[in-house]
């Protein structure tokens, strides 16, 4: 292939599909025009040098956005990225540590045990941090691509008025960062537990030899069915946290989104609790044998436990919905931000 073809092909590679052919033809014509008659390889070399790097030329044709996360979100992205990476790494560390303590290796002084623990801690913190960074980035890319209005829009076309100024800091409408971060930590802990280490949620019974037998609460295989839904719910939750983080103030749209999220969460929880297969049968038999009772009794205990837990979840969620809506509606600016 000659130089000109190679040049044009390279430019085309960086262009959107629909203009490739036409730009290619035009560029070819232009290059031919720039060359003298009976041109030599050197002439071609000179003309292509004049046109410059194919990537730069293609960029000139392509005026669409070329970034994943643009200037409007960049600062918030970096600051949130740091927090989330720290939280995720800490959660992953915590879970690994707890798992080790619960499993209680027979002899901590045995060669390699501590080294193994340290290696596992480092790798789990790293994996946790990567997961956090990945998901935060995904959420920001979605924000950037969809141009979702989240109350922080210096570069959007909307005409700014002084009404858009954030209220003074003692405003009831202000979302507390601490609260957001706390809820974020809780979400990450639970998702990470269910997703990565569901076997940690278990009964640990110390045997005669000092090594505990572990009976998991959940049927891990069955749990896999719910993992996609759990991840989606956690992602929506993470998206809402990021929204809160950026917007800094409540608004009605946010309150409604949160209410919808809470309802989705309740539905998922109720479905999971109602699923008889999700509880590990061994857990019930082990429970019965420890408490020296029948399997049926142990099974009723578990059922009652599920109901109490379910009721707790529903109450917390409904409380959250009500509180958010009331707080938002009470404030003078609350309804004003709704489009």
């Amino acid at each position: 292939m000659n130089l000109i073809e190679r040049y044009i092909d390279t430019v085309k590679k960086y262009l959107p599909e629909e203009i490739r052919e036409d730009v290619g033809l035009e560029l070819n014509a232009n290059i031919m025009d720039m060359l003298p008659e009976n041109y030599t390889e050197d002439d071609v070399f000179q003309v292509l040098t004049e046109l410059g790097s194919p990537k730069n030329l293609a960029d000139e044709y392509n005026t669409k956005k070329k970034y994943l996360i643009g200037p409007a979100y960049y600062d918030k992205y970096i600051s949130l990225l740091k927090s989330v990476i720290a939280i995720c790494a800490a959660v992953a560390l915590g879970i690994t540590l707890i798992e080790w303590i619960l499993k209680a290796p027979a002899d901590w002084y045995e060669a390699g045990v501590v080294a193994n623990l340290i290696a596992e801690l480092i790798s789990s913190a790293f994996v946790g941090a990567m997961q956090g960074a990945f998901w935060v980035t995904i959420v920001f890319i979605i924000l950037e691509r969809t141009g979702v209005e989240i109350g922080f829009t210096p570069f959007k076309n909307k005409v700014w008025t002084p009404d858009d100024l954030p209220a003074i800091s003692d405003d009831k409408n202000k979302i507390s960062r601490g609260e957001t971060i706390f809820s974020m930590v809780m979400t990450i802990v639970f998702t990470a537990l269910l997703y990565f280490r569901p076997e940690v949620i278990a009964m640990y019974v110390k045997g005669d030899n000092g090594i505990p037998t572990v009976t998991t609460l959940l049927n891990i295989e069955r749990l896999q069915i719910y993992i996609p839904a759990i991840i989606i719910v956690a992602l929506i939750q993470l998206g809402i946290f990021i929204w809160k983080f950026i917007a800094e103030h409540r608004n009605l749209l946010m309150a409604i989104t949160e209410a919808a999220y809470n309802i989705a969460f309740i539905v998922l929880m109720v479905v999971m609790l109602a699923d008889q297969g999700l509880i590990n049968n061994e857990f019930i038999t082990t429970l019965a044998s420890i408490m020296k009772t029948t399997v049926d009794t142990a099974s009723t205990w578990v059922e009652t436990g599920k109901k109490v837990f379910g009721a707790f979840v529903v109450i917390v969620c409904v409380w959250d919905i009500a509180e958010t809506l009331i707080r938002t509606l009470k404030s003078p600016k609350g309804s004003g931000n709704m489009k």
Binding site: I19, V23, L25, E26, L27, A29, N30, M32, D33, M34, E50, L51, G52, N56, L57, E60, Y61, T63
Partner: protein, 118 residues
């Protein structure tokens, strides 16, 4: 810290970039193809790099300021550009803008020269 030359260079490029569209519009009352326009501007001592000009023509066409057609009559096909009705309208108004700016700038600069003779 950048040298005076570097700063001046980048400022001059910026200044010139603002005049690119007006320059191109002014030359497309009659139709031209990419390279003929490059040559025409070079002759008139307002050179624009080919790598800047070709994409600019396309962008202006996309905005509806230029019309284009492939002329396949000659030995090799060429894409010709010419002002559209909308382009003419924009050109006339942009020209007025330019004249106002350059007049006001001239006044500013002269005033300053009068006040502070070297």
């Amino acid at each position: 810290m950048d040298s005076v030359g570097e700063i001046l260079g980048s400022l001059a490029v910026e200044l010139k970039r603002g005049t690119l569209v007006l320059t191109v519009l002014s030359q497309l009352i009659t139709k031209e193809y990419g390279y003929s326009l490059v040559q025409k501007l070079e002759e008139k001592k307002v050179p624009i790099e080919a790598g800047t000009l070709y994409p600019l023509l396309r962008r202006l066409e996309k905005q509806g300021l230029l019309q284009s057609e492939w002329d396949t009559g000659e030995s090799r096909p060429r894409k010709f550009y010419v002002l559209s009705e909308k382009g003419k309208d924009v050109y006339i108004q942009l020209k007025d803008e330019w004249r106002t700016i350059s007049k006001q700038m001239e006044i500013l600069l002269r005033e300053e020269e009068k006040n502070e003779p070297d």
